[in-house]
C-alpha cells in the first residue's frame, strides 16, 4: 500500500464531494448532534441537582452514573439490541437498525458523562456564588441558571466530552445501527468496514474527517477555556 498515494486519493474524494462519503459524515453528525440535543438539558439538570440538593438515593445515583462513565459502548449497544430486537421489550417499535436506535444508544452513552461532569463543575463553584444570588433575591431556578452560567467552562467541558465520546463510538452504532450503507453507516462504522475491505483511501478520508470533528471540538473548548481560565 502506498500511503501517500492513498492519502492523496482520500483528499480527492473529500474535496470532490464524493456523495457516498459525505452521506456517511452527514449520518454521523446528524445522529450525534441529535443525541446531544436530547441528552443535554435533562442531564445537566440532573447533574446540577446531584450537586446541590440532598435527597434519598442521591449517593446511589452518583455511583451509578460514575460507574456508567466507564461502560463500554458495545455493552450499551448489546443492552439496547436486546431491548429493541423483535423478542425484546420494545421490539414492537421496530427501531432496531435505524438511526433512531443509534440516537437512543448515543443518548445512553452521553448521559452519564454529562451528569457526572456537570455535577463536578457545579460542586466546584464558590459557595459564595449561591449565597450571593439568594441574597440578591434570585429564585432557585434563577440561581441554578446563574450557577451553570458561572461554571459554564466546566459545563461546556461536559458537553464537549460527551460529544467527543458519542461521535467517535463504534460499538453501539454497529450493534443497533447495523452499518447499513446510506442509512445507518456513520464515520466510525464505515472506517472499520472500508479498512477491513482494503479500501484504505475511504478509511483515511473518513478518519481524517473524524479527526477534524474531534479537533474542532477540542479547539473550541480550549478557546473558550482560554478566555475563561483567566482570573
Amino acid at each position: 500500500m502506498d500511503l501517500l498515494a492513498t492519502t492523496h486519493q482520500a483528499f480527492g474524494m473529500l474535496f470532490s464531494g464524493d456523495p457516498e462519503l459525505w452521506a456517511i459524515i452527514f449520518v454521523s453528525l446528524k445522529v450525534s448532534l441529535l443525541a446531544m440535543a436530547i441528552a443535554c438539558a435533562p442531564a445537566i439538570a440532573v447533574g446540577y441537582l446531584l450537586a446541590t440538593v440532598s435527597f434519598r438515593g442521591r449517593k446511589l445515583l452518583i455511583l451509578v452514573n460514575q460507574g456508567l462513565l466507564a461502560s463500554p459502548t458495545v455493552v450499551v449497544g448489546l443492552i439496547l439490541y436486546l431491548l429493541l430486537s423483535r423478542q425484546g421489550v420494545f421490539g414492537s417499535l421496530h427501531l432496531l437498525f435505524t438511526r433512531k436506535a443509534m440516537v437512543l444508544g448515543q443518548i445512553m452513552i452521553a448521559l452519564p458523562v454529562l451528569v457526572v461532569f456537570t455535577m463536578s463543575a457545579v460542586q466546584a463553584a464558590d459557595p459564595r456564588l449561591q449565597e450571593t444570588t439568594l441574597s440578591l433575591g434570585a429564585t432557585r431556578l434563577r440561581t441554578a441558571w446563574t450557577t451553570l452560567a458561572e461554571m459554564r467552562f466546566g459545563v461546556m467541558a461536559a458537553v464537549f466530552s460527551a460529544f467527543g465520546r458519542v461521535v467517535s463510538e463504534i460499538g453501539c452504532s454497529l450493534m443497533v445501527g447495523g452499518n447499513i450503507a446510506g442509512f445507518t453507516r456513520n464515520i466510525p462504522t464505515a472506517i472499520a468496514l472500508e479498512t477491513s475491505k482494503g479500501e484504505f483511501a475511504e478509511g483515511i478520508a473518513l478518519g481524517f474527517m473524524l479527526l477534524v470533528v474531534a479537533l474542532m471540538v477540542n479547539f473550541s473548548l480550549a478557546f473558550l477555556q482560554g478566555e475563561g481560565g483567566l482570573k
Binding site: L136, G228, K231
Partner: protein, 253 residues
C-alpha cells in the same frame, strides 16, 4: 423614636459541640447603623449570616417589623428586604453593569427602569468608567464598591456588611467608608461587622461588641464609653431593653 426593625431573642449557634454564638437578644432600629465589633472568631460573620438566612441557628424568636419570622425557613419577602454582602464579595463573571443589575432582573424590574437604577447606582459608587468592564478584573476596592452598589440598587431595608473595608489599601478603604457613610445617612439600617475605626466613628453609628460569641458591651459613637453589661453574674441581672441590645439571662450560664 425609631421603630425596631429587627428584634431577635436568644440566638445560639453550635458548631458540633462548640457553642460559638450565644446572644440573649438583639434589637436593630430602623434608620440606625451599627458597627459590630469583636475579635476574629467572635462570631460577627456568623451572626450576620444567621440574620441573612444563610446559616442555621437556634433562635427563640425573631421579629421583623413587628412580624414573627422563622430565620430557619427564611421567607422570600425577607430576602428582598435584607442584603448580606460578603467580606470578599462574589462578583459574577459578567460586566459591572450586569452585576449591579442582577438583583433587579431577579425582581423582574423592566429593562428601562433597571438601566436607570443601575446607572444611578454606578454613579453613586463612582464606577461610571468601569460600567462595561468584566467584574473579575477589578481591584479589591472596586469589587467592594460594585458589591455595595449591587446591594444598594435594590433599596433593602437592612444592609448586613461583613468587614467591608478589611484588606483594602488606604485609598480604596476611604472610598468604601464614604459609601458606607452615605448608606447610613440615607435612612437605611446597616449592621456592619468591622475592625475599622473609621466606620465605628461615622456619625450616628452605634457600636455592638461581640466577645467570644456574646454581645458584651455597647459604645455609642455619640457619647463614647462602654456601657458595660458583661456576662459577669452581677452585670447580667435583668437589664431591660436598651437600644441596640437586649439582655436577658441565658439559661446555660
Amino acid at each position: 423614636m425609631n421603630e425596631p426593625l429587627f428584634v431577635i431573642e436568644r440566638i445560639q449557634k453550635q458548631f458540633g459541640a462548640r457553642l460559638v454564638l450565644d446572644i440573649a437578644g438583639l434589637v436593630l432600629h430602623a434608620g440606625r447603623s451599627y458597627a459590630l465589633t469583636g475579635d476574629n472568631g467572635a462570631g460577627k460573620t456568623t451572626l450576620l449570616r444567621i440574620m441573612a438566612g444563610l446559616e442555621s441557628a437556634q433562635v427563640a424568636r425573631a421579629l421583623y417589623r413587628g412580624q414573627t419570622v422563622d430565620l430557619g425557613a427564611y421567607p422570600e419577602w425577607l430576602r428582598r428586604d435584607v442584603i448580606y454582602v460578603h467580606h470578599h464579595p462574589y462578583l459574577f463573571r459578567a460586566s459591572v453593569k450586569d452585576n449591579i443589575g442582577y438583583g433587579l432582573k431577579a425582581r423582574g424590574t423592566p429593562r428601562r427602569e433597571r438601566e436607570r437604577l443601575v446607572h444611578e447606582s454606578v454613579q453613586w459608587a463612582r464606577l461610571d468608567h468601569l460600567l462595561a468592564s468584566p467584574a473579575q478584573k477589578l481591584s479589591a476596592g472596586e469589587k467592594q464598591r460594585v458589591a455595595l452598589a449591587r446591594a444598594r440598587v435594590l433599596k433593602p431595608r437592612l444592609f448586613l456588611l461583613d468587614e467591608p473595608t478589611a484588606n483594602l489599601d488606604a485609598e480604596a478603604r476611604q472610598q468604601t467608608v464614604d459609601l458606607i457613610r452615605d448608606l447610613c445617612d440615607a435612612n437605611g439600617t446597616a449592621l456592619i461587622a468591622c475592625h475599622d475605626q473609621a466606620i465605628m466613628q461615622l456619625p450616628g453609628v452605634r457600636r455592638l461588641h461581640l466577645q467570644a460569641g456574646h454581645i458584651e458591651a455597647r459604645w455609642d459613637a455619640v457619647a463614647p464609653g462602654p456601657e458595660s453589661i458583661g456576662r459577669s453574674p452581677g452585670a447580667m441581672a435583668a437589664r431591660p431593653l436598651i437600644e441596640g441590645l437586649q439582655w436577658q439571662p441565658v439559661a446555660n450560664d
